[in-house]
Symmetry: C2
Subunit: 271 residues, 2 copies
């Protein structure tokens, strides 16, 4: 956890009721125009810090994005990481596990996709689906998913101790906002591809999902890898807060390019 955690960071051990968090909160940001200009600056800063991380090449950052359907995971990636070079930044979108993945423990496919040192890896959905969707849709019994909270904490702590900093975001929207966004998808021929009939099944299970997320936020917010609850009804607020969080984390990590092992004055470049 950061030495001075941001207010939307979940302190380890605290109780989480999502109803206590207003998804339309602006977290002190009052003007959209100013926030957008600020996001532009944040993006440049993020690109700069990522380049230093890449030059240092000794640690990695893993960003985990979770949220209900239409919470804005894709949009966050597009808007926040837009200026970061894809050389040092990779996204992996997790869908249903393959046969090969199912034939391993649930964390195996996570290990396969971990970012190289020097890189920012972004998980669009993640191993948390194995304690959220798997639980809510009853894909596996409690005896399977119950030990996973502890297994996740143990694994994340281990990764952290070996140089991968994990930053987890729960993008928090409400039911009405989801309805608007799903309607948008249906109405707009350019967005319709994002709509899947299964979205409505999950929407019916809204309360179960919220409850499963509350358990995740409570049980898997650790010193090594805390969760951040980002109010996400307003996209400009969501983007600003995610960017601010990542900048704070990277500034604390303070990556430094290795010192040059040569004296530049002595190096001649042949004509």
């Amino acid at each position: 956890m950061a030495k001075t955690p941001l207010p939307w960071c979940v302190r380890p051990g605290s109780r989480v009721r999502l109803k206590d968090f207003d998804p339309a909160d602006t977290r002190g940001l009052t003007e959209k125009e100013a926030a957008l200009a600020d996001l532009e600056r944040s993006r440049s800063r993020l690109a700069e810090l990522q380049e230093r991380l890449y030059a240092e090449n000794r640690r990695a950052v893993l960003v985990v994005l979770q949220g209900m359907d239409a919470a804005g995971k894709d949009g966050t990636i597009e808007h926040v990481f837009h200026s970061v070079s894809p050389i040092g930044c990779q996204v992996h979108s997790f869908t249903a596990p393959s046969d090969e993945e199912r034939d391993h423990d649930f964390l195996w496919r996570v290990a396969m996709r971990l970012p190289r040192y020097g890189n920012i890896g972004i998980f669009n959905r993640s191993h948390y689906e194995d304690v959220v969707a798997v639980r809510v849709r009853r894909i596996a019994p409690r005896s399977v998913w119950e030990p996973r909270y502890e297994q996740i904490n143990c694994y994340e702590k281990l990764l952290c101790s070996m140089g991968t900093r994990i930053v987890k975001f729960f993008l928090h929207i409400d039911r009405d906002e989801q309805r608007e966004r799903l309607l948008d998808r249906l109405r707009d021929p350019n967005k319709a591809w994002k709509y899947q009939p299964g979205d409505l099944d999950d929407r019916k299970l809204w309360n179960d999902y919220q409850h499963a997320y509350e358990d995740v936020l409570e049980r898997c917010s650790t010193e090594a890898a805390p969760w951040h609850i980002v109010p996400a009804n307003k996209k400009w607020v969501r983007n600003a807060l995610v960017a601010q969080t990542l900048i704070a984390v990277l500034e604390e990590m303070d990556p430094k390019p290795p010192k040059a092992s040569f004296d530049w004055r002595k190096i001649k470049i042949p004509k």
Copy 2:
């Protein structure tokens, strides 16, 4: 750890001095001919148990083989696993890490090679090189390798809790036996390819290696994944003990094929 661990299993927390273990010990096996006949039976039994593990398809076994050069890692694999179908049994021989592997934590390449459920994976060398060779050859400073014992214990415990049973063997030979075997390699044109000049550098560091292994055997013998010290001067003893250990582990795991979901009497096969 097995409910009734074999005598060559290192109890967690015990102190290990390799000088106290006779590499020429026969561990109660007195006759080579009888032991060889017994190994033949063990191999069939192992093949049978592995097939049940494969049919069950819910857990995996990971065999870790470590030892000094010429301790017999390759020979053990050849002689013990010889009857097990390669469909459900894969060997991975670890060498120096690749650039991509070096750009991740030291356990990442282990994760990449974990056996699928239903399979036996064999590691010919392993992550233990990262606290043995790396330490003895001073490839990394103490600040890098010291935390790894704990990281290994944590990771192995996690794997175990998710269904991968880890069985670790240290093949214990003495300096004289190594000398004989290296000379054999040099003298026999069919074995000469196995000889590498670096073997002699490592031989010079014999005591440092023994000491590094003592630390591994003491610090990484856990309830979840204990080490076995196998006297390996006599190949027939080594093979018999490794086979016995694996059979004991698999019998305790007692894998069972899933029950048929159909009534065979009702199924007609079209002519």
